[in-house]
Symmetry: D2
Subunit: 162 residues, 4 copies
């Protein structure tokens, strides 16, 4: 089984610029994370953007949708900023019916020792192998369908609407 892994940026991949004191994107940490997890899945990895999800536009979401549609693989994991992950999931969920797509991200940059990123990546790569077709969000060790999820920004966790 081959899994397509699409990188779109998000907190996952932010690093600290020691010259400016700002957080920014450089390269994805996904390869290092997969090595750490001793991951032996057959993966096809593609970085399609490096965006802060608060700044993602409709056309960015179109690009993500196109990438899912044209992927030959039936199973797709997308790393994504948490702030608008439900919005992107909704764009995908309304269209994609014949693939299993799981979005995940991190509350803390992977480059920080205390990141949830490795846990979430392990989770998303597992759910995507086991779940039926549909679009999902894997966060906090849980799985949500695209049409029943929101990020609770007060406490920084994902939860079902109903």
């Amino acid at each position: 089984m081959t899994v397509r892994l699409l990188i779109t940026g998000g907190t996952f991949d932010k690093v600290y610029d020691e010259l400016t004191g700002k957080l920014y994107f450089r390269d994805t940490h996904i390869h290092e994370m997969l090595r750490l997890g001793r991951c032996r899945l057959d993966l096809k990895i593609r970085t399609i953007m490096m965006a802060d999800s608060l700044e993602m536009t409709d056309s960015d979401r179109e690009v993500i949708l196109r990438n899912c549609e044209k992927a030959e693989e039936e199973r797709i994991v997308i790393t994504h900023g948490t702030d608008t992950m439900p919005e992107t999931a909704a764009v995908l969920g309304k269209v994609i019916k014949d693939k299993t797509v799981v979005l995940t991200g991190a509350m803390i940059p992977y480059a920080f020792g205390s990141s949830d990123g490795l846990f979430n990546l392990g989770s998303a790569l597992s759910f995507v192998q086991a779940l039926p077709h549909g679009v999902y969000i894997a966060m906090n060790g849980r799985i949500f369908t695209w049409d029943n999820v929101r990020k609770n920004r007060q406490i920084g966790v994902f939860e079902a609407l109903t």
Copy 2:
């Protein structure tokens, strides 16, 4: 959904004793790992032993089996040393037919920065929610059924027999 989490020791939970220079067990790191993963699953956690899997006896495996059988939860994750994980999975797999049980572990102690433990824990907790009844091993980002798995000790990875 409630998941039962059984701790049996293994590399996962080894720490370095700075007085003797030896690796040993103290407490489980599972609570810290779940906190790091911002895990919000409803979990019932029980430490049933703290054993090096190379030293596990038949009666240890009986204890693990009893704990699975008497658990009220239908979904169970077991942290276990990697060396004899397939043996324990076989003991469980021959008996348990009405629950989903996923064993996982780590190649490197969690207390080491470079551990695969957090990735594997995220993986096991996800597979256990999504898979049908049966006994499985979740390692290397992959899932194996109890009757078709071995640890390849030359290269330190899990693989299917056939």
Copy 3:
């Protein structure tokens, strides 16, 4: 020998706010760092402010100076943001002649796995014990006197003026 340790904030102590995605100050990491370093020096630790050094005012520097002057200890380490560390060192250096004062900081927050903070703290606490009276900056494994140092912001390192 007792060393006075004054905390003023800086990158050292920044943490990532997972609700806002911003870096901010919470508590100092100095106690955790000293524990990690198995430090057995007799230390008197006081947090006098938690400031980004770019936002430090003249009156902040007066507060730091007063704290150095009134300290009973002859040896003082100050953790400080790197951006204006030379400015603060100059304020102290012109006045303090009968104590050994060493400023240090970090290019990367300690909470990031890749921080130079622990190395710099070990360095500053050692120089302060061994150097004659004066005001110094300990960064990059080197020691600079307050009147011959600048931060090269292009490459993010400290260097002597002459």
Copy 4:
């Protein structure tokens, strides 16, 4: 100022072998540690052995002594296992009178997230620049002369004899 850095092994450089579950030596971590510390000292680094200090022989200590004697640099840091660090310091201290030599090590392997190695390395590289000729041990943020130090193995710290 150039500092000679001699690597002899010790806990500092132990890594975890995931195939055997044993700790062993591979390469030194010193280069990675110096990079992390953004160290800009002029260093000449040489690995002269990779030994567990409990297994060091008289002839090993002769090799270390020869390396100190023939080094052109007046300032030398030696990374060394903690268990017999005072013994090696004594061998050096009785002979070397015209150089500053500082031994240091770690209670926890650097590859573990919780190592004191980076703190100790920062400390040793600083003391060596500031102290007069003599042979010293830098551990626990403190400095000891070779003829007044022991490792208290009950609590895992270095202390003065008198």
